[in-house]
Symmetry: C2
Subunit: 198 residues, 2 copies
């Protein structure tokens, strides 16, 4: 019995998404087949729309819809703080947490010589330029606590040192609501290093 070419094609599209295997992709393709026509059409339109309507802010690299960057274009944000993130989604996560009201800068990746990502390919020069020209009080590096993230933080902080701006990184330690039982050794070591007087 022959398969259905349309289902196979759609499964291949779903399988391009991160973490989606061929079995799950096929199940999704069948779910699309069972959808109401209206929902299917809006699904397809929504896919096209993200490509057409969303662009990257030329200043900070955040995704923006329309003419104005959600961060740079907002006069109520505190322009004396600059938070450096790996990608746009990290900025959204920080926004959801609340508490930070400064500007952002998206690097677009982390230094990883093994993956061929060298400092030159990232937005680091652009960041240096922006810090030199701007009037920031503090640059906060919000990169992941991995080897790549640490390497990048170190590299960026050395590059920014001559500008005289204060450079910090996020605190490391036990995640809130987590149990010490489940924390790995490195996290516990970092939590000890970062201990505070109460």
């Amino acid at each position: 019995m022959k398969g259905l070419p349309s289902i196979e094609n759609l499964s291949l599209s779903f399988a391009r998404l991160p973490g989606i295997g061929s079995k799950t992709a096929e199940r999704m393709a069948y779910a699309v087949l069972r959808m109401e026509e209206e929902d299917r059409i809006s699904f397809a339109k929504n896919i096209i729309a993200v490509g057409e309507r969303i662009s990257k802010c030329p200043v900070c690299g955040l995704y923006m819809e329309g003419e104005e960057c959600p961060s740079c274009g907002d006069p109520e944000r505190d322009s004396s703080f600059l938070c450096v993130v790996t990608e746009g989604r990290d900025a959204e996560t920080i926004e959801k947490a609340g508490g930070y009201h400064g500007l952002y800068h998206v690097l677009g990746g982390l230094i990883s010589p093994s993956k061929g990502l060298l400092p030159e390919g990232l937005g680091i020069e652009h960041l240096l330029q922006r810090v030199k020209e701007g009037n920031f009080e503090e640059v906060i590096l919000a990169l992941s606590p991995t080897i790549e993230g640490e390497t990048t933080s170190l590299y960026v902080s050395k590059l920014l040192a001559p500008t005289g701006v204060k450079v910090s990184r996020l605190g490391y330690g036990l995640p809130m609501g987590g149990s010490i039982d489940y924390a790995d050794g490195l996290t516990i070591a970092k939590a000890f290093e970062g201990r505070r007087k109460i």
Copy 2:
């Protein structure tokens, strides 16, 4: 900072798929945003295509692409066997396993009074008609071994009894490659019932 409406819309579309929560849906929407334009367009086209190109065979209820049912339209299939499945995907699973070369009949659901699925709403009358008019040697009920599946198998087999056709169901027992350790009590009980002389 405002969210991106296009990402939110696309996330909602992804979240309509089975087993996809809002967090995963959002991650998928961002993955679509990072795709090449070409891939994004073919993704959208593939979604529209499943709706436009795929229909259900009026005889057996299997999904078909084009004018001919992959099962009924194939003269090489053994028309003396009829395998009754819950939905079209089950037939594909059986096909992938190989070994069965007869025809299919899709019920479209299982009897489940609690979910409002009564025998009348399923394709059971249509099945009875088809068996009466056809020349089948055996009807194999390939429904899931759940309460709904068992109820439906029993109902269908009683309905088909007057036609004189042989009605069977798939064997129950230990899944191949599985360990007895992990089998539940009911499966083991069914495996004992269905034991064979070696």
